[in-house]
Amino acid sequence: MTMRILTAVLRTIRNSRRLATGLVILGVLVLLALFSPLIAKAIGGGQDPIELAAYDKWLVPGPGHLLGTDQFGRDVFAMVVKALAVSLQIGAIAGVISTVVGVIVAFVAGYKGGWIDGILSTFTGILLVIPTFPLLIALSAYAKNVSLFQVGVMISIFAWPFAAKTIRSQVLSLRTRPYVDLARVSKARDLEIITTELLPNLLPFIGVGFASSALGAIFGLVGLEIIGLGPGGVIDLGQIIYSAISTGALTLGAWPMFVVPVGLLTLLFAALNMVNIGLEEVYNPRLRGVAGE
């Protein structure tokens, strides 16, 4: 099964340049994030380069500090690299949780149908229209000391209905496919049909759901931080950008503090978007060969 998925993945990648590009960019970003502790160490040379007052403040970029230092004398390059890791983490956490919940709800609702579907769909519909920002605040007030993970969970609470909604409509259309009937006359059980027949075909939609939840979470985090309810002790890309904005770093000439994290985020979005579009191209035969630019 895993082998098969792997080969299927490879096959799809081969079929779309956009998908491949997206994955490569994503891969590079993840690698950068994975090695961030090492990079920070190398920059600091024994000292923690993002400790407050590690260096003089507002140093211009130079050989010692590739991107200069910020208003607290932290090395911006080290900050950015570490922040990238945090942003990726929150995206991954929220993406995974909301996708998993969304997929489960979507499958239960879409496959079972009837009143279960009625209730679940109405509930998802309700959650969808509640603006999340105020509720996030209420929620973060609950948690005593929010960790990155908890923030991820909180954001997911409001993100899953999106995934659930799109995937449910797909399940509805897929469950009447002849191959589902074939599975049924081959004595497959509901759960088996869901996991082996429907799930793989929904990968692109799940991928889209994952990507948008992940992006949502990365920005949700910025929002929380701006109102002071972010997770303690970590810096993420949004926070650096926000800090660059509020200190007016751009006019001070400290452009790397703004441009580099914005660039990284944009790259991340672009990569995720490319993966999404690529997946859709590959899976949607109508788009195949048509969508390519």
Binding site: L52, G233, G248, T251, A254
Partner: protein, 571 residues
């Protein structure tokens, strides 16, 4: 490393190196620019109400300060106490009676006389209406009755000795705790509903206009001001306006002389100075609140309730570094929990300060920690068998100074084996936790005190509340020490300047140093920024004729001293 700091050299290449002339921008105000002082301020939410007795019933920092007056002004800069609405106060010998004399010239800005009757009306209203802000409380505790023998004399009869009762009417930094209200206006009103708009106050300015959508208040000079002889303010208008949320935008507005006061931050100010901007004047202002760490003394919080732990934390504080690199401007370290104004010097005791020397010394911290919180097999410090972990909170945003202080401490604590979590909490979320004692260390500021006993009186056992219950603005430290209680109680009955008070104050200070319920970290320097394009004569470091020197109530004295430069506003 590096090629120096950004603001060392002109950062914006499209700008000339030294601007000798100022590009005057068009300020967004509806009154003549050259007759106005424009003060850059933060956010306002209330524009149509000036009733301070209900929640958000009145805007703050919006210039209301220019139209309200205390009975007395106290300048921290000079130590001078200026009688204002009142000409004097006088206690009887056992401090159970205090007499206020009002200035016979005083009248409200609607022309009605201002005097003892208004005073009595206000005090009794607040004493008897505990559902009003400022109501109940001190007044209920102290005021038995108020006699008004003549229109200018009010005699407060007290239930118990109250040598500090007049503090309630002094404007020291902010407004006085209790202001007085015109009886003829309020008598017939429901104080929980009345908006008092436009406000009938006294003061050199009257409200001209409050523009909600512009977040702007325009105050106009009152031609009939009662105290014109003593104070003749120069600007015809004072405009309080929200500035841009981005510092670069805000400082650009300053650079274009769209603001006279505020609206620039230190980093951008530095840049302006370096580019030769001629109209920026920076004056240092010490906040009367030093930055402090509140330490929770409640035993249920574990190791933090140990004085030795608090000393260990003290040894982990690198005050020099914080003062030099963390705070936006260089500031001195603090040892006393009050500001380093000359006025306050009389409360100091160098002998004690030397005995309990504050120094950055992680080794000493380690020693103390090993005594009370030895490491367990896993190498973690434990207290009473439990691994320790401190919870640090702060109301400051993550890019704020107090957060940074806490962050530095957290790093140092980690080095001596004390893990800690640090969270910045928004306004009320913070206050909730703080009041309920759900924290170990809170990085914020001390309260303003005219004398130390004002601080101490909040820290006594009778104000103690267990963790989880709201300490209601008092003993948030959850500090309990019977010896300290006794001294504080005696001090409360005494004039702080009296001879008897002196030894008691020293005793209290020594207990404070031993137990360290609150750790002063640095004296807080806030630079104030003035633009000299339209107005000159602002307070300077050399001639600091007034504190606080910008938008607070004392600002009227600044407005009385400045002069127009003759610069005309843009068309």
């Amino acid at each position: 490393s590096g090629g120096g700091s950004y603001s060392d050299k002109p950062a914006n290449n499209n700008k000339p190196v030294a601007t000798k002339s100022i590009q005057i921008g068009k300020a967004n105000i509806p009154v003549p620019r050259d007759q106005s002082v424009i003060v850059g301020q933060v956010e306002y939410t209330v524009f149509d109400s000036f009733n301070g007795m209900i929640p958000n019933g009145s805007p703050s920092g919006a210039g209301v300060e220019l139209s309200t007056e205390p009975l007395f002004y106290l300048s921290f800069a000079t130590g001078e106490m200026r009688p204002w609405l009142a000409t004097e106060y006088k206690y009887n010998d056992d401090h159970t009676e205090v007499t206020f004399k009002f200035d016979p010239k005083a009248h409200w800005n609607d022309g009605q006389p201002l005097g003892a009757a208004d005073f009595k009306f206000t005090m009794l209203l607040l004493r008897d209406r505990p559902d009003l802000f400022g109501g109940g409380g001190e007044l209920k505790e102290f005021v038995k009755d108020i006699e008004v023998p003549d229109a200018q004399t009010a005699v407060v009869k007290m239930l118990k000795p109250g040598p500090r009762f007049h503090y309630n009417f002094i404007s020291a930094i902010a407004g006085p705790p209790l202001g007085i209200m015109p009886e003829h206006i309020w008598k017939s009103q429901d104080p929980t509903k009345f908006k008092d708009n436009p406000p009938v106050h006294s003061g050199p300015y009257k409200l001209k206009q409050a523009i909600r959508n512009q977040k702007m208040f325009i105050w106009e000079k009152d031609p009939n001001y009662w105290n014109k002889d003593k104070l003749d303010v120069k600007p015809q208008y004072v405009v309080y306006q929200s500035t841009s949320k981005q510092l670069d935008q805000a400082s650009l507005a300053f650079e274009r002389a769209e603001f006279d006061v505020g609206s620039v931050d230190e980093q951008h100010a530095k840049q302006l100075r370096n580019t030769g901007y001629p109209a920026l004047q920076t004056t240092q202002f010490h906040d009367p609140n030093p930055r402090v760490l509140w330490l929770n003394c409640d035993p249920s919080r574990g190791v933090i309730s140990e004085p030795k732990m608090r000393w260990a934390i003290n040894y982990c504080l690198d005050r020099e570094k914080i003062g030099k690199s963390i705070w936006p401007v260089p500031v001195p370290p603090a040892q006393y929990p009050w500001a380093d104004y000359p006025t306050n010097d009389k409360w100091k005791n160098d002998e004690l300060a030397n005995k309990y020397k504050f120094e950055f010394n992680p080794d000493k911290a380690t020693q103390l920690l090993d005594e009370i919180a030895p490491k367990n097999a896993a190498g973690k410090r434990t207290y009473k068998g439990k691994e320790i972990n401190l919870e640090i909170i702060t109301p400051s945003p993550v890019d704020g100074g107090e957060y940074a202080i806490a962050n530095v401490l957290k790093t140092e604590l980690a080095k001596v084996g004390v893990p800690a979590t640090l969270r910045s909490l928004a306004g009320n979320v913070h206050d909730e936790k703080f009041q309920r004692g759900q924290y170990d260390i809170d990085s914020s500021w001390a309260g303003i005190a005219i004398d130390p006993e004002q601080l101490y009186s909040d820290w006594t056992s009778d104000k103690y509340q267990p963790v989880g219950k709201n300490a209601a603005g008092k003993n948030k430290l959850r500090y309990r020490n019977p010896k300290f209680d006794a001294i504080s109680e005696k001090l409360a009955q005494l004039d702080p300047n009296s001879e008897e008070a002196k030894p008691l104050l020293n005793q209290a200070l020594e207990i404070y140093f031993q137990d360290l319920p609150m750790l002063s970290v640095i004296q807080t320097g806030y630079p104030s920024y003035f633009n000299t394009t339209f107005w000159k004569g602002w307070p300077t470091d050399d001639d600091l004729y007034e504190v606080p020197l910008n938008w607070w109530q004392h600002f009227i004295f600044v407005l009385g001293k400045i002069e127009p430069t003759g610069q005309k506003g843009p068309a």
